[in-house]
Symmetry: C2
Subunit: 287 residues, 2 copies
């Protein structure tokens, strides 16, 4: 056996073999690096386009492709019919009064008010009108306690292990810790899930373009609705709690946690940090 | 020279050398694959935590770590002081009247109104109160024309190459194409950038936690403000236009395009698709 190998022409000229392998190795390495960099160069948008293309490729052919929406007729639009009497000024005064609150009283809130606020949030625009949101309203004390357990246990790990020293330091002035009393004190917790994809009428998977942005815009509208109704809230993004909360609330696998908001009235002794907001000059540029 | 090589002990036993190299190659390959998969398993939240940790690691040591906010004193909060007289119902009626508009008249809009609406958007909550948004208001006809050129050229490529057949089909009922007349017809274009990081007072990089969600929430508030002011808009996410728009508007590298909205009044002959919104039962669950 060894003799055959030793007699082989190629192996008698092993120098070339090693040379070729070395060259080949570096060619492959360089090509990979090039590819990696070009991926890096492409921005988020391109990744979104690529992702949808990949999603769409699952067993679909041209004949299958139907619009997610039925054929829709066009109707005349006469411009904004409902506005605020005080216009932009009135609205600014409304929202400038909003504060994130961490101490909630157990004063009852009418479920109909919560429902109306969520209905308002559902008027949000969304990519290709996919409306990729689910608002879970938790009023059961038992379930609120379970949510608190999940969030506090994960947040303890976040504060002590996952979050950087800079991050926890940045949060210090806001007095946030892993203890979340508001999760059992507030009359409601609204858990907002983004639907990362949907289901078409034929059972196929429906792409939800820009679902996170759409869903976060609807949360912005929700915050305005709650303020208009005289209610306080706190917008939280509990790190790593998504899977456990999804299981607890029995949500389907296409739904991912976006934000969680306790909603209600603040306590009489509630305090908030004396924050300044950026001036209009700091956030707006005119061209 | 060749003689020296031929006499070398290692090269006389080149079989082992080749064997070791081959084994080494597969070990490296397997390790890489393992690492890639473990990255895949981790969810979005974990990635956020990891990203911030990496960001924070750049040349920082414990002594450097100061909160992004100054020491802030706590002040009493007496609950919501400014609400709407009609509460949640009034707000729902306001927002249910909102429609995305694609045909704008050139009727002038007072810049002060736009400014107030953006000021309202700036009251949005944000991760660790970082306020990671910049609202660029474009009123110059020349610059609007340049924006249209950038967007139409990229959108042509999007519609014909980047977007899947399913995506363009999903958009058909909404009558969207790569021709964007509204970009030169509307009196203003608001280009919203998310600041993916900021600058601390000592010149260091300041992490902007959840900047995309925060920024999209502020866009939700902006849409409410525009509606309250009687103005129409269209929320668009122009695919791949980020870098070109950032260059055109001379924005710093920490800013990335989130959305672009033409703002103004609709034309008299404006039509909108006769869309239905999901019912409250479809978007809300009670626990």
């Amino acid at each position: 056996m060894l003799e055959i190998i030793q007699k082989s022409y190629l192996l008698q000229h092993w120098e070339f073999l090693v040379l070729f392998m070395t060259i080949g190795y570096f060619v492959v390495r360089l090509t990979r690096k090039e590819k990696k960099n070009s991926n890096k160069r492409s921005n988020d948008d391109e990744m979104i386009a690529r992702d949808y293309r990949i999603e769409d490729d699952h067993g679909e052919n041209e004949a299958d492709i139907t619009p997610a929406l039925e054929e829709i007729k066009m109707i005349p639009y006469r411009g904004v019919q409902v506005k605020l009497a005080g216009g932009a000024d009135e609205f600014y005064n409304l929202m400038n009064d909003r504060r994130s609150v961490r101490k909630f009283s157990n004063k009852a809130v009418d479920m109909e008010v919560i429902k109306k606020c969520i209905h308002a949030a559902g008027t949000s625009p969304s990519g290709a009108h996919t409306e990729p949101w689910t608002f879970c309203v938790v009023k059961s004390d038992e379930m609120k306690a379970q949510i608190r357990e999940i969030v506090e246990s994960e947040e303890y790990t976040n504060y002590t292990q996952r979050m950087s020293k800079q991050w926890t330091t940045d949060l210090e002035p806001l007095r946030t810790t892993y203890i979340k009393e508001y999760l059992t004190e507030a009359p409601y917790i609204i858990v907002v899930f983004k639907q990362v994809y949907g289901t078409r009428s034929d059972g196929g998977r429906k792409a939800h373009y820009y679902n996170e942005i759409s869903c976060a815009i609807s949360v912005g509208i929700l915050l305005c609705a709650l303020q208009a109704a005289g209610l306080s809230s706190l917008t939280t993004t509990p790190l790593n709690c998504g899977p456990a909360l999804r299981t607890l609330l029995n949500r389907p696998i296409n739904e991912k946690l976006l934000v969680l908001l306790p909603v209600g009235y603040s306590t009489d002794d509630c305090e908030v940090p004396s924050l300044q907001r950026k001036s209009i000059e700091e956030i707006m540029e005119v061209y």
